[in-house]
């Protein structure tokens, strides 16, 4: 009995082979420098039993989409033909050697065991591998491994419990590929040709369109516009200060602030008429700062730029590297709740040897453990990102690898801790018709904060004593003026949060789209004070976003709705509620309208480019 196992990358093939092969693995070269074949024997039990196994891999997608050559000419082929043109799916040039390797190895195998990543794309790649294998061995039986980390016991268990490839998930990806390809081609050709003809400055530039990149650009331009439009405004507020017990207490005015100076004067005079401030409420209550939720991909990609000075893409890449090496679980997950059956204590136990958080972990085992909070998301495929094993700083490839591993581990330990606890005193005053208040916060127990430096919670100190009914003359009461401050440009965590909230991209792809819009020079990343970075649109980016909004807001390619709707429907295909071809047809119909509207009103784009590329740059 021969079984051919195929993983998504060589590093995973190597890891799984070494686990299943138990040290008796023979390595064979292939025609590709990066891909190897690993031979071993393994007893799968069940209906497969003991077998000779060859484990190999591909390198992401094997196939790519293209149009037949008669559609190659941009200038002579009208773009709307591409809505209906046949799409050829063929093995890409780079993947030819990989496909050949699979064909060869599949010839004598009874089973094809797919070991690609367990996400939507992975199912599709599994299908691609299946199609290739079947060309040399049409009778081969196909099964699929269900795994979400590379821990030894988990892999062995997973290998004995295969399932079927999910056709629905593969269909969802197939729909996405077709739509992204067609729409990408159609709109890229349309806008590039028209703008190249109209503007000398763009003559040699390809102005590409991507259905996720444009909404991403849209968010950046949207925020940029607000910064441009901002005008600082004066405002006034009442300041009441009391000095007692050698402390100075600044009370906050309930109305917060007023944008009319005369009104502020009226309020102040009302207070002065009253002469004394009266304490109307003194409340003490417990305060809590909640420990973090279990870690999802979106959260991880936001924390990277915020706390580790790494881009979201880099953060995700490092997490993947840690996963491939068996240190953390699968980093592409929407799930932010731990399954109640999961053995959290076991993982904590492995972390007690660490010199950084060993004692804290031991404390959890000794009685400080608390059940993690549950977030609202569960993709039912993978658990939240968590450490699988302990690893020493020096055993990792780089300092950046360590930073990501540390973040994942500290987050996990924080999840299993108690919330931080404090006590808060609130004092409310009344002076005339005006109300003031102030809070004093004392931190009583830091709990999770001790292992999680990414959250800050500082006390403001104990307030001096106030009695309800007490009256006193404030040591200072006056009007203070200030000015409003401009919003700032989008930071990477903010952009990811917006993409997530508006349904653009999936947790795995968001970081990619952000990279793409920078590559295409629609968006520029620049440093601001400190180590933080921010995104500003390029002139071309602004021109495109404004132009498309002018063409029609509801249909604007730089607004999120069209893509959001598509993502929702892709999910429906994945869960079997919608047919793949039906979605493709529906979406193309919608975009046909968008296409015609865009062509009809293309002057809006030309005017926008004229304004932002030429006129404003000259001034």
């Amino acid at each position: 009995m021969r079984v051919l196992c195929v993983a998504e990358k060589n590093s995973i093939a190597k890891s799984v082979a070494s686990i299943l092969g138990g040290g008796q693995v023979k390595r064979r070269d292939t025609k590709s420098k990066y891909i190897k074949n690993y031979d071993f024997t393994f007893d799968f039990g069940g209906y497969i039993g003991s077998a000779q196994v060859t484990m190999t891999s591909v390198s992401g997608h094997l196939t790519e989409a293209s149009f037949p050559s008669e559609y190659n000419s941009w200038s002579s082929v009208p773009q709307d033909i591409l809505f209906d043109a046949r799409i050829i799916t063929s093995v890409s040039k780079n993947a030819n050697v990989l496909a050949d390797n699979i064909k060869k190895e599949a010839r004598n195998a009874t089973y094809l065991y797919i070991w690609t990543d367990c996400d939507r794309e992975g199912e599709h790649i599994g299908m691609e591998i299946t199609n290739v294998a079947r060309t040399s061995n049409p009778q081969i039986r196909v099964i699929r491994a269900d795994f979400n980390n590379l821990e030894r016991r988990h892999i062995i268990q997973a290998s004995k419990r295969p399932r079927e490839l999910s056709k629905d998930a593969a269909d969802a990806v197939s729909a996405r590929i077709e739509l992204d390809f067609r729409l990408g081609a159609i709109f890229t050709r349309l806008q590039t040709l028209q703008l190249q003809r109209a503007f000398e400055i763009l003559q040699s530039k390809v102005i590409s369109y991507g259905p996720c990149q444009f909404p991403t650009l849209g968010f950046v331009v949207d925020r940029w516009q607000r910064v441009e439009d901002f005008v600082p405004e004066n405002f006034w507020f009442l300041k009441l200060v009391d000095k007692r017990e050698r402390q100075t207490v600044n009370f906050t005015w309930k109305r917060n602030r007023v944008y009319d100076r005369l009104a502020a004067i009226l309020f102040l005079e009302n207070c002065l008429d009253a002469k004394v401030a009266k304490v109307v409420k003194v409340n003490q209550k417990p305060a809590r700062r909640y420990k973090p939720l279990p870690l999802s991909t979106v959260e991880l990609t936001k924390m990277g730029p915020k706390y580790l000075r790494l881009s979201s893409k880099k953060t995700l890449e490092l997490a993947e590297s840690l996963y491939t090496n068996g240190f953390v679980s699968y980093p592409r997950t929407e799930t932010d709740q731990f399954d109640s059956g999961m053995d959290l204590h076991g993982i904590i136990g492995k972390l007690t040897v660490s010199e950084d958080w060993g004692p804290f972990a031991q404390g959890l085992l000794d009685g400080n453990f608390r059940i993690p909070r549950k977030g609202k998301h569960n993709d039912r495929a993978h658990p939240p990102i968590h450490p699988i094993n302990f690893v020493h700083r020096s055993a990792l490839q780089s300092q950046d690898h360590w930073k990501v591993y540390e973040l994942i581990t500290r987050r996990f330990l924080a999840c299993c801790s108690e919330n931080a606890i404090g006590a808060e005193t609130i004092v409310e005053l009344q002076m005339g018709d005006e109300s003031f208040s102030q809070k004093g916060l004392v931190i009583i127990e830091r709990n999770y904060l001790d292992v999680y430096p990414y959250d800050k919670w500082t006390g403001t100190g104990q307030l001096p004593a106030y009695q309800v009914g007490e009256e006193f003359v404030p040591s200072m009461l006056n009007i203070t003026d200030s000015v409003t401050t401009s919003p700032s440009y989008l930071t990477e965590p903010e952009l990811i949060a917006l993409m997530d909230a508006n349904g653009i991209g999936t947790d795995a792809t968001m970081a990619d789209h952000i990279e793409k819009v920078q590559e295409r020079e629609y968006v520029i990343k620049r440093k601001k004070r400190g180590a933080a970075t921010e995104f500003v649109p390029s002139s071309l980016g602004i021109a495109l976003a404004k132009g498309y909004d002018e063409i029609g807001l509801e249909w604007s390619l730089t607004k999120p709705f069209l893509r959001k709707e598509m993502e929702v429907q892709l999910k429906n295909i994945e869960t079997g509620h919608l047919d793949r071809d039906a979605l493709v047809h529906m979406t193309l119909t919608q975009f046909r309208d968008v296409f015609h509207l865009t062509k009809q009103r293309f002057d809006c784009l030309k005017n926008s480019c004229r304004l932002y590329l030429i006129e404003l740059n000259e001034s």
Partner: protein, 237 residues
């Protein structure tokens, strides 16, 4: 009811109608709407009143008997009937108000769909630091929080005298989209530095509007006015 009785009852409510104006309305009701003269009641007259310009429909009996803008530290002795000429939010910046109005317009164009521009993070360090108004607008429109703080009104009495009124305490029903020409009845309000201090206790909203002033005012004309005011702020350093 006879005209005299109608006049008397309205006057008791604080609304001294002009005889000539009332006749016009009554005649309209009788000839155009076919009501019998005896069956005409206050309830039939009121809608016409609140849609009218009080400079034409009422006598000066309910107007201010002195120049309000120059008064300080007095309390209104007689009931004062006014119509709202303009409303401004003084608890929020103009940038913030424009953001709110823009998002309202956008929501209409997009048929209820929302573009989320700000995500509320659990640990936002400086919530007060957001002067862009984006968070406020989003919460007001999509989280149902409403957009209202503290309004300052330009009011006009039956003699055409204009002065300021300010919400000293929040009055439900007075906000940015309140109709221009809304009729208010104010009693026992304090006047400080030429401004009437309004509270729910001293201000009764009679409702209505003046079509000429109010038609297509909210939100487009209001936004135009606010933008012009913002331009002026730009010039003053």
């Amino acid at each position: 009811m006879t005209d005299t009785l109608l006049l008397k009852e309205m006057e008791q409510r604080g609304i001294p109608l002009k005889n000539s104006w009332l006749s016009l309305v009554v005649n309209h009701l009788v000839h155009q709407r076919k009501y019998a003269r005896e069956n005409i009641t206050i309830e039939l007259i009121l809608p016409f009143f609140i849609a009218s310009d009080i400079r034409s429909s009422t006598t000066g009996a309910s107007a201010a008997s002195y120049d309000i803008s120059n008064q300080h530290n007095i309390t209104l002795s007689n009931p004062l009937l006014v119509q709202v000429v303009r409303i401004r939010e003084i608890g929020k910046s103009i940038v913030s108000q424009l953001e709110y109005l823009n998002q309202l317009e956008e929501r209409k164009k997009l048929k209820g769909q929302q573009i989320i521009r700000l995500v509320d993070e659990e640990d936002r360090e400086d919530k007060e630091g957001d002067d862009s108004g984006i968070a406020e607008a989003q919460e007001a429109i999509f989280d149902g929080k409403g957009f209202k703080c503290m309004c300052r009104l330009v009011l006009e009495d039956a003699n055409g005298q204009r002065f300021y009124g300010m919400e000293w305490k929040s009055i439900p029903g007075i906000q940015l989209d309140t109709n221009l020409g809304t009729k208010l009845l104010i009693q026992n309000a304090q006047i400080k530095r030429g401004t009437l201090l309004l509270t729910p206790e001293n201000t009764e909203i009679l409702g209505g509007e003046i079509d000429e002033w109010n038609r297509e005012y909210f939100p487009k004309k209001l936004m135009q006015e606010l933008k012009e005011e913002l331009e002026v702020k730009k010039l003053k350093p």
